[in-house]
């Protein structure tokens, strides 16, 4: 039976989807506005909540949290000069300058509508580009799947960590974790050390919650005891709709930044942090008054905000079509898809079309809802930003424990979460990002299956077999490029600094 737009719209406006969207948007704004809490952490924490939900509503909720947390980060950047998420760091420059001039309302309004438009444009790109691009996955055989996993890992390793070697170590560690459990081909338990619960492998969701959410609590605890009372600036010039002059002044900046955001989002591994800085720089470069930047230019708020929200839809394109996340948050979202039995690729747009299209169309409405909810909540977010870490930290732990228990209703998953919380904290302290670990854990089985099947198919030299397949060659070139480009970039920057 052919899926119609009407069916999808009906599903989007079902009670469960609407509630999921509302919780996702409001929850995301709150998570984003709280300094120290990130979109990745919010998504990781709420993945278990979606487990018992209608898959479309669950995925929609996670997508809504992702985009609204990125937007929410701008609120504390503007009102407190403390970016709620790393993606809002660029917004803090001109956003806070406007607040100091008594124009916090203007800054929030510009940030809200720019985020909404950026997110909307990216959601249309997602809806239009993902289905045809997913056809590529049909041309993939075992060697391509193996190389695709390596490509995703190489890119996320090079972009999420300061050091490429550390990023790669994290990725290989994740792949190694993926080998734990009973081998599907021989039935032999690998690295289980007699623990029966490990025979089905490391549970993904508890590992994700530990690596991203519990480790964040440990980081928060470092400074929680010395934390001073946060005083956010009040919004005195609040107005719901932007003025015509504001729209006229910002339309080009918002459009340009949105396109930039979508493109950066589609690049595997690059996230909202990079996009917001590029959006800011481009807004300054094209501005008629670049001298105003840093002193309260509204383009300085619109540029990064449109770009970082446009990243969200862009990052979901390679995720839905090939299973390669465009950002760390998208890597966690991939885990959310997996627990509903949804495997990225062509099947998402054929067999599971109703779920996928409902989530993608719902994402458009979620972005519109951000504009409305953002403006209505803005005046009250000042209270949320005052919640101290000493109150937040124990609450997050309580949610981490119940969330990891809810997935399989067993305490072993909770211990897994605590273990990965400790591992995640130590990794982050020593410059190893947890995102490649999660991606390695997710892509590990696919990589191993592809590797073993291509060994069998090669019947001799595996290198010549890989080189005889055009898509494999392209992927090999992309892997080499993704590994070499950060090294070249670093050397260039070093040479520039020495000059």
């Amino acid at each position: 039976m052919e899926l119609t737009l009407l069916q999808v719209i009906k599903h989007v406006f079902s009670f469960q989807c609407l509630i999921a969207m509302a919780i996702g948007v409001v929850g995301g704004i709150v998570v984003g506005a709280l300094p120290g809490l990130t979109a990745t952490m919010g998504v990781a924490l709420l993945v278990p909540v979606t487990f018992g939900m209608d898959p479309a509503a669950g995925i929609l909720m996670l997508m809504a949290i992702y985009t609204s947390a990125i937007y929410g980060g701008s609120m504390s950047a503007i009102l407190l000069h403390t970016p709620g998420t790393p993606a809002s760091a660029a917004t803090a420059i001109d956003g806070y300058a406007l607040t100091q001039q008594g124009q916090a309302g203007t800054a929030i309004r510009v940030s809200t509508y720019s985020s909404m438009v950026g997110g909307l444009i990216s959601s249309f790109f997602l809806l239009l580009l993902a289905p045809p691009l997913s056809m590529i996955s049909l041309k993939f055989g075992p060697p391509e799947y193996f190389l695709l996993a390596l490509f995703g890992l190489s890119v996320i390793s090079s972009l999420t960590s300061g050091s490429l070697v550390k990023g790669l170590i994290s990725a290989v560690f994740g792949l190694l974790l993926g080998t734990i459990g009973v081998d599907v081909n021989t039935g032999f338990p690998r690295f289980t050390f007699g623990i029966t619960s490990l025979e089905s492998g490391v549970s993904l969701v508890p590992a994700m919650i530990g690596l991203f959410s519990l480790s964040q609590v440990f980081i928060m605890s470092e400074t929680a005891r010395e934390e001073k009372h946060r005083e956010a600036n009040a919004i005195r010039d609040w107005r719901f709709f932007p003025s015509l002059s504001e729209i006229k002044a910002l339309k080009n900046t918002v459009l340009r930044s949105s396109i930039i955001g979508v493109i950066i989002g589609m690049l595997p591994g690059a996230g909202g942090d990079i996009a917001s800085w590029v959006g800011y720089n481009e807004a300054k470069r094209f501005s008629k008054h670049p001298e105003k930047f840093g002193h309260g230019a509204i383009e300085g708020v619109a540029g990064p905000e449109a770009a970082n929200n446009a990243v969200t839809g862009g990052a979901l394109i390679p995720l839905f079509t090939l299973g390669i996340p465009g950002s760390a948050t998208a890597a966690v979202l991939l885990g959310g898809l997996m627990i509903h039995g949804l495997i990225p690729g062509r099947e998402l747009f054929t067999k599971y079309a109703e779920i996928t299209y409902t989530a993608m169309v719902g994402f458009i409405f979620a972005n519109i809802f951000i504009g409305i909810a953002g403006m209505l909540l803005a005046r009250y977010v000042t209270y949320v930003t005052r919640v101290p870490a000493r109150v937040l930290a124990p609450s997050i732990v309580a949610l981490c424990v119940i969330g990891s228990f809810a997935i399989g209703n067993n305490m072993f998953d909770v211990w897994t979460m605590v273990f990965f919380g400790g591992v995640g904290y130590l990794m982050r302290k020593y410059g190893f990002h947890p995102a490649p670990v999660v991606l390695g854990l997710i892509l590990g089985p696919m990589a191993e299956l592809g590797f073993r099947q291509s060994l069998l198919l090669a019947k001799g030299s595996i290198v010549s077999y890989y080189l005889s397949r055009p898509i494999s060659v392209v992927l090999l070139v992309l892997i080499v490029a993704s590994l070499i480009s950060p090294v070249i970039l670093e050397r260039r920057m070093q040479a520039k600094a020495n000059a």
């Binding site: 290989v172 081909n185 000493r390 109150v391 309580a398 073993r452």
Partner: protein, 147 residues
């Protein structure tokens, strides 16, 4: 920098031990894990070499290396131990009782002193969890001796 070298040594030692474990696996089952472990040893060696090179460069430039103070690890270590105690107590006291005890102890350790803060935040979070996970998602939360 020195920490990178210690981490590299730990990774190599850990990988060698796991390689020994993988050696006991049947043929075919061991190939991928062994490939990963060899890659891990190679990358750790690279990390060690990079760290040495950077140290030499910083000594040459007269820079002082940054050291992470052990004191910084005390609050996260206590929080971690608190989490371990919380999880260990769940099957004994039940989720909600151990959750309330953990939250109160953790908030006190992290500097909260006002009774109102304790009451509102703990009751709010527990009520939220009860409504979402017990009433809506029907998660069979472990019941201990008390609740």
């Amino acid at each position: 920098m020195q920490s990178d070298r210690i981490i590299a040594v730990i990774i190599v030692a850990f990988s060698l031990w796991l390689y020994g474990v993988a050696d006991e696996f049947p043929k075919g089952t061991d190939t991928f894990p062994k490939l990963l472990l060899v890659t891990l040893i190679f990358l750790a060696t690279l990390l060690f070499a990079q760290s040495l090179r950077r140290q030499r460069e910083s000594v040459h430039a007269g820079e002082k290396s940054e050291k992470v103070s052990a004191r910084n690890f005390v609050p996260p270590a206590i929080t971690f131990l608190g989490c371990v105690a919380f999880v260990a107590l769940v099957p004994v006291l039940g989720y909600f009782t151990s959750g309330v005890l953990f939250s109160a102890a953790m908030m006190f350790y992290l500097g909260a002193r006002r009774m109102r803060t304790f009451l509102i935040s703990i009751a709010g979070v527990m009520l939220f969890i009860y409504i979402l996970f017990i009433m809506q998602l029907r998660v069979p939360v472990p019941h201990g001796l008390l609740f």
